[in-house]
Subunit: 669 residues, 2 copies
C-alpha cells in the first residue's frame, strides 16, 4: 500500500507488534476466501481511473456533487451489470458497493442509485406476486427503470399509521387514484427520488369500496422514460443540503390524482380484486422480518464507522507529538498520554465488539427467520426487542466514538481532509433512520416490562432475557469479584433491576389512576434506561462469549491481544455505567478505584499493539480518505498536498480582493 | 416578527405561559438599555438588503462562499466605520457583530475579517509600545491594512514552547530574519490568513546574538498593499474545507528568509535593542490575562449556542405531532413525550445557567484582573484554573446539547435548513480552540492537586476551592436530604473526593518510583475527572446563588419559573454524575429513584412554559435561520420553501440525466 517511506514512528509501532496483523485481518474479513474477494473487489473498483477524484468533493457545490455522484453511480452500475453477467453479484458484493466501505471509498457522500438496488428491487421481490416480479424485476435489474422507496412524509416518520398519502381504488377504470392531500403528506427523504429515479414504490393508505384497508405499496412512474420529465400530477425535487449523505439526492414527492393500474399494487401479501374486494394479508408480522434484517445489518455498519475513525485517530496519534510529559524530555507521541489512550482504545475495542455482536446477531436472525418461515413465531418478539435496542446503542456509541476520535486529533480533525466530518455525518444518520433511537429503546422496553410481569408470575423467560428470572430470585448481588464473568453477570443483574424499576414506576402511576399508556409515557425515561442496560448486558455477554471463543481458534499471540480488548471493553463499559452498578450492587469507593486502575492498566497493555490492531481492520487508504490516517503516516505532507487541490489556491489573488476588499481598504485614502 | 399567522399549537403555548416573556428578555439582554441597543443593531444590520442572502449559503462551493463572505465582511466593516465615527463602537457592538448572534445572522459560517478586529488590533494595543501603537493602530482601525494573528503551526498547537518558527536578529541591518524551517513549522489556522489579510502578527522563537530568548510577536507584511500579491518569501493560502467556520478563510503561511525591521517586533513587554541586546519581560504572567479573558467570553458563547439550538428544537417539538401516547387519541405534540422533554428542557436550563455563570465569572475576572494590575497575583492561579475547566465543560456540554436538540428533531434536524449542522460546527470548534479541552482540564487538575496538598498541610484555601478544606475534615457526607443546598454541598463533597483520589493515585505512583510528571501522566484520567467535578460543583453553586438572587429581583411569576429551571438543572446535573454521588455518599436505590421521579416532575412543571422560555431568549429569526425554529412555527411551509431555492430544483431534468443516466439505462435496449 505505501507509496512513500512510512513515517518512522509508525514503522516502529508496527515492528514492535506482538501479533500477526494479517491473521487478524483475515478473521475480520470473515475468512481467507472473503479476504481475497475483498482484495479483488478493491482492485476492480479502486484502481479504475474513472472512479478517482481529482478534486476532493468537499469543494463541489451541491449541484456539482449530485452530477459527480450520478456519473460515478452509473459507472458502478455498469460494473455491477458485468459482475451479474459473470454470476459474481452476491449479497456481500452489493453490501460492499452500496452500503459498505468500498462504496464509501468511491462515493463517500452516498450513491443516488443505492436505493434502487437495496430497497426498490428487494421490495418487488418481497411484496410482488410472481406475475409482478416477472413484469418488473428484469427491467429493474437491467436498470431500464430506476426506482426508489417512498414511505416517510414531511409530517410523518416513525409512526407509519400516521401517513397521509392515500390510494383510492376506482373500480370503473380499475385504477388507483393516489394523492398527497396536504403539504405534510408529501413524501420526503427517499434517496434518488429528487432527480434520479423514474419509478418508486409509494406506500399509501388504501381505500377500496369507500373503506379504509391499511397501508399498501404501489409502483408509481414518476418521470417519463424518455425525457425524464415529471409525469402529470407529480411534483418532485431534491430536499436540499444536509449534514451528511450529501450525494444521495434525497427527494420530495407530491402526487395529485395520479392514476396507476390495479396491477401496480404489490399484491403478494394482500390483494385488491378488480371489483374492489379487498383480501387482507394472512400474516402482518412478516414486515417485522425486513426491519430486523436492516437493523442487524446496521450494527455491522456502526462497527465499520468506528473502525475507520479509530484507524485514522490512532495512526495520527502515533505520528503527532505534543506536550512533554516530563518537561526535560522532547514532546512524546500523543498516544503516550493516558488521556489520549482513553479516547482511542475503547473505540477500537467497541469496533471489535460491535462487529462480533453484529455477526452473532446476524446468525441469530437467520435461525429465527428460518423458524418464522416455518410458522414458529416464538422468538420473534425477543429478536425484535434485541435488534431495536442494539441498533440504538451501537449507533449512538459509534457516533459519539467517531466524534471522540475527531476531537482527539485536535484542530486537524476539524478539517475535511481528515475525513472525520463525513464519517460522522454518515454515522450519526443511523441514530435517526430505520427507527429513531428513542423509539427503538421504547419498543425494547415495552417488551422488557411485559416479560418482567411474566417472570413475576413465575414464567420461565426466553434465553436473552432469562437473566430477569435469575435476578427476581436474588435480592442482592453477592459475588462481584472483578472477574470478567462477574462483570457480565453484574451487567445482567443491573439490567434486570432497571427493568424492575421501570415496571414498578408504571404500576405506581397506574395505581395513581393513569391508564397504562399514559403511565408508560410518564415513565419514558425509566423505560429507555432499562432498554439501554438490556442492550449493554447483551453486548457484554456476547463480547465475553464470542471473543473468548475466537481466542481459542487463533494463534496464542492474537488470543492474548483479543483478551486485552475484551477486558478493556468490559471494564470501560462497567465504569461508563458505574452509577447503575453502585445503585444495585454493594461496591465501595475502593472497588471503583480498583476498576479505574485496571482500566489504566488495560490501556497500557493495549498501547504496544494499538497501531497494529487498527492496521488489522485492513482499511484501504481510499476507504479512509484521510490525510491524518493514511497507511504511510505522512500526515503533514498529506495535509499540505490537500491544500494544493483547493480551488481557492489556484490563483494568488482572489477576484474578491479587487471587487470588495480593495475598495473597502482604500475608501479613506 | 411574524409575517404569516402563527401556527396554532405554538400560539396556544404562548397564550398559556405563566410569566411575561419580555421581562425575561430584558433580563437576558442585560437590562433595558442593552435590550434597546440590541434591537437597534438588529434593525441596522438585519434589515439592510445588501446583507440578505437570496441563496442559502449551503449551496455555495467553498470558493463562492469565500467571495460571498468577503463581500459581506466589507459591508459590515463599512458600518463599523460609521459606528466608530459616531462614537457608538463599544465592546458589546464588536462582540455582537464579530462573535455573537448578530454576526452569525449575517455570516453564519464566520467572517474572514473577524480576526483583524478581535486579535490583530488588540494584540497591537496590548503588546505594542506607545510608538508602535501610533504607527500601526490608526492604519489598522481604518482598515488600510488588514491583519490576522499567526501563532499555531501545522505541527504545533497547545504547547507553545514547541513552536518552530524562528526570528533571528541581524544587527548589521537591524532586521529580523523570519523562517518556518520545516513543513510542520508552517503557520496553520489563522482566520483571514488565506487570501484576506495583508499583515499578520507572527509569533516566533526569538534569537539575538545567537541566543534563544523565548517567544516574541512580529508584525509581518504578507501581501503587497496594492496588488495583494504575496510578498517575497511568503508561501500562503487557504487550508481548505472544514466541519464548520467555512467562511473564515483559515490560512497557512510559510516564511523563507523574510526580513522585517527591528521596530516590527512588538516591544511593550520585552525589547531587543539595535545592537541585539535582549531585555526580558518583567512579568510573564500577563499573558494569562488575555487567555482568561477569552475563555470567560467563550462560556457566554456556549450559552448562546444552547439558546439557539433549544429554541429551534422546542418550537419544532410544539408543532410536530407524532406517535400517539394513547392509541385511541390523535398524535400529540412531540413535546408531550417525557423522553422528548428530557432531551430539550435540560438544554434550556443549561443555557440559562451557563449564561449566568458566564456573567458571574466575567465580573470575577474584572475584579481579579484589577488586582493583577495592582500587582496582586494572589487569585490568578485560582481564576486560571476555573476558567480552564469551565471552558472545557461548557463547550463540551453545549456541543452535546446542540446535537441532542438536533437529534430530537429526527430526520428534519439533519437538513441544513434546520441550521443545526452549522450551529454544531461552530459550537464543537470551541472544544478545541483557545486550549484543547483535555489540556484545559489537566491544567485545572494540576492546580487542584496542588491545593489539595496544601489543605492536607492545614492551609486555608481561597474561596473557589475552600470546599476542599471542608471535605478533608469530613469523612462522611451526612445530610443529603435532597434540598437544593444539599445537592450543591454534595457536589462539592464529591469534587473534593475526586481530587483526593487523583492526589492519592499520583502519590502511589511516586512511591512506586515514577517521577512526579510521569506519575501525573499515568493518572491523567483521574485528573481530568477531578477537574470536571470541580467545574460542575462551581456551576451548581453559581446556579444556586445567582438564580436565587435573580428570582428575588423579578416578578413572582418569573421567579417561580427560574426556580423550576434551577431545580431541573441541579437534579439533572446530579443524576448525570450519580456514579460519583453513590461512590462517596450513602444513597440508597430508593434515594436515586426519588431523584429520578423528581426530574420527571421538574420536566412536567417546566412543560407549560417551555416555548415562552425560549421565546425569552429573543433570538431573531435571522439569527436562528431555521425552517424548524422560526417564530411563526410554520415548519412544513418553511422547509418546503427552502427546496424552492435549491439550484438543483431550478430545472425539471438535470443535465446529468442526458449525460450519464440515460446512456446507462438504455445500454441494453
Amino acid at each position: 500500500m505505501p507509496s512513500k517511506p512510512v513515517n518512522p514512528d509508525l514503522q516502529k509501532e508496527r515492528s514492535t507488534a506482538t501479533f500477526n496483523t494479517r491473521e487478524f485481518s483475515v478473521l475480520w474479513a470473515g475468512g481467507e476466501e472473503r479476504f481475497k474477494e475483498k482484495k479483488a473487489l478493491e482492485k476492480m473498483f479502486l484502481e479504475d481511473p474513472a472512479l478517482q477524484d481529482d478534486l476532493p468533493i468537499s469543494y463541489l457545490s451541491h449541484k456539482e456533487l449530485y452530477e459527480h455522484s450520478l456519473r460515478k453511480a452509473c459507472i458502478i452500475g455498469e460494473k455491477i451489470r458485468k459482475l451479474r453477467a459473470d454470476g459474481e453479484d452476491g449479497v456481500d458484493t452489493y453490501n460492499a458497493l452500496l452500503g459498505g466501505s468500498l462504496g464509501a471509498a468511491i462515493l463517500k457522500e452516498g450513491n443516488p442509485l443505492a436505493l434502487h438496488y437495496v430497497m426498490f428491487v428487494p421490495t418487488i421481490m418481497g411484496q410482488g406476486t410472481m406475475d409482478q416480479q416477472v413484469e418488473w424485476l428484469s427491467k429493474a435489474w437491467d436498470c431500464e427503470i430506476i426506482g426508489t422507496y417512498a414511505q416517510t412524509e414531511l409530517g410523518h416518520g416513525t409512526f407509519l399509521r400516521g401517513l397521509e398519502t392515500r390510494a383510492d381504488y376506482d373500480a370503473s377504470t380499475q385504477e388507483f387514484l393516489i394523492n398527497t392531500p396536504s403539504l405534510s403528506a408529501y413524501k420526503w427523504w427517499p434517496g434518488g427520488l429528487g432527480h434520479t429515479a423514474n419509478h418508486a414504490v409509494v406506500v399509501a393508505q388504501l381505500y377500496t369500496k369507500g373503506e379504509f384497508r391499511g397501508l399498501a405499496p404501489f409502483i408509481v412512474q414518476l418521470r417519463d422514460s424518455d425525457t425524464h420529465r415529471p409525469m402529470p400530477g407529480i411534483d418532485i425535487g431534491d430536499i436540499g443540503t444536509k449534514l451528511g449523505m450529501k450525494g444521495v439526492n434525497n427527494g420530495y414527492l407530491g402526487l395529485k390524482n395520479v392514476r396507476v393500474p390495479l396491477n401496480n399494487m404489490l399484491m403478494k401479501n394482500q390483494q385488491v380484486l378488480p371489483d374492489g374486494t379487498y383480501v387482507a394479508p394472512k400474516n402482518s408480522v412478516l414486515t417485522y422480518g425486513t426491519m430486523m434484517f436492516v437493523r442487524c445489518a446496521l450494527i455491522r455498519d456502526t462497527a465499520q464507522s468506528l473502525a475507520k475513525a479509530s484507524t485514522i485517530a490512532t495512526r495520527y496519534s502515533a505520528v503527532r507529538r505534543q506536550s512533554p510529559i516530563d518537561p526535560n524530555q522532547p514532546e512524546p507521541q500523543i498516544m503516550d498520554h493516558t488521556t489520549q489512550q482513553l479516547k482511542l482504545f475503547p473505540q477500537i475495542a467497541r469496533a471489535i465488539v460491535f462487529k462480533t455482536t453484529g455477526d452473532g446477531i446476524w446468525n441469530m436472525y437467520n435461525v429465527i427467520s428460518g423458524e418464522i418461515e416455518q410458522g414458529n413465531l416464538d422468538r420473534l418478539p425477543e429478536m425484535h426487542a434485541l435488534s431495536c435496542c442494539l441498533k440504538a446503542i451501537c449507533s449512538a456509541d459509534a457516533a459519539a466514538g467517531v466524534e471522540m476520535c475527531r476531537l482527539s486529533c485536535g484542530g486537524h480533525g476539524y478539517m475535511d481532509c481528515s475525513n472525520f466530518p463525513t464519517i460522522y455525518g454518515m454515522t450519526t444518520a443511523v441514530c435517526t433512520y430505520e427507527g429513531e433511537n428513542t423509539v427503538m429503546l421504547l419498543q425494547t422496553a415495552r417488551y422488557l416490562v411485559k416479560v418482567y410481569g411474566q417472570a413475576l408470575n413465575g414464567e420461565k423467560l426466553v434465553p436473552t432475557v432469562s437473566y430477569i428470572n435469575d435476578a427476581i430470585n436474588q435480592t442482592k448481588f453477592v459475588n462481584f469479584d472483578g472477574t470478567l464473568t462477574s462483570i457480565v453477570k453484574a451487567f445482567q443483574f443491573v439490567a434486570a433491576n432497571k427493568t424492575r424499576i421501570a415496571y414498578e414506576q408504571i404500576e405506581l402511576r397506574r395505581k395513581q389512576g393513569h391508564g397504562t399508556e399514559v403511565a408508560a409515557n410518564l415513565c419514558g425515561t425509566f423505560l429507555t434506561a432499562a432498554a439501554d442496560l438490556h442492550g449493554r448486558a447483551f453486548l457484554a455477554q456476547t463480547a465475553y462469549t464470542e471473543l473468548l471463543a475466537l481466542s481459542r481458534e487463533v494463534s496464542p499471540e492474537l488470543a492474548e491481544v483479543l483478551k486485552v480488548v475484551l477486558e478493556l471493553y468490559l471494564v470501560d463499559a462497567c465504569l461508563n455505567r458505574i452509577g447503575d452498578f453502585l445503585r444495585f450492587i454493594d461496591l465501595t469507593d475502593q472497588d471503583v478505584t480498583k476498576l479505574e486502575v485496571r482500566l489504566e492498566n488495560c490501556l497500557k497493555r493495549l498501547r504496544p499493539n494499538a497501531v497494529s490492531l487498527v492496521d488489522s481492520f485492513d482499511l484501504h487508504d481510499r476507504v479512509l480518505d484521510s490525510a491524518l490516517g493514511a497507511y504511510d503516516g505522512n500526515v503533514y505532507e498529506h495535509i499540505f498536498e490537500s491544500t494544493k487541490k483547493n480551488p481557492l489556491n489556484k490563483e494568488p489573488v482572489n477576484g474578491a480582493f479587487h471587487k470588495y476588499l480593495k475598495p473597502f481598504m482604500k475608501a479613506h485614502l
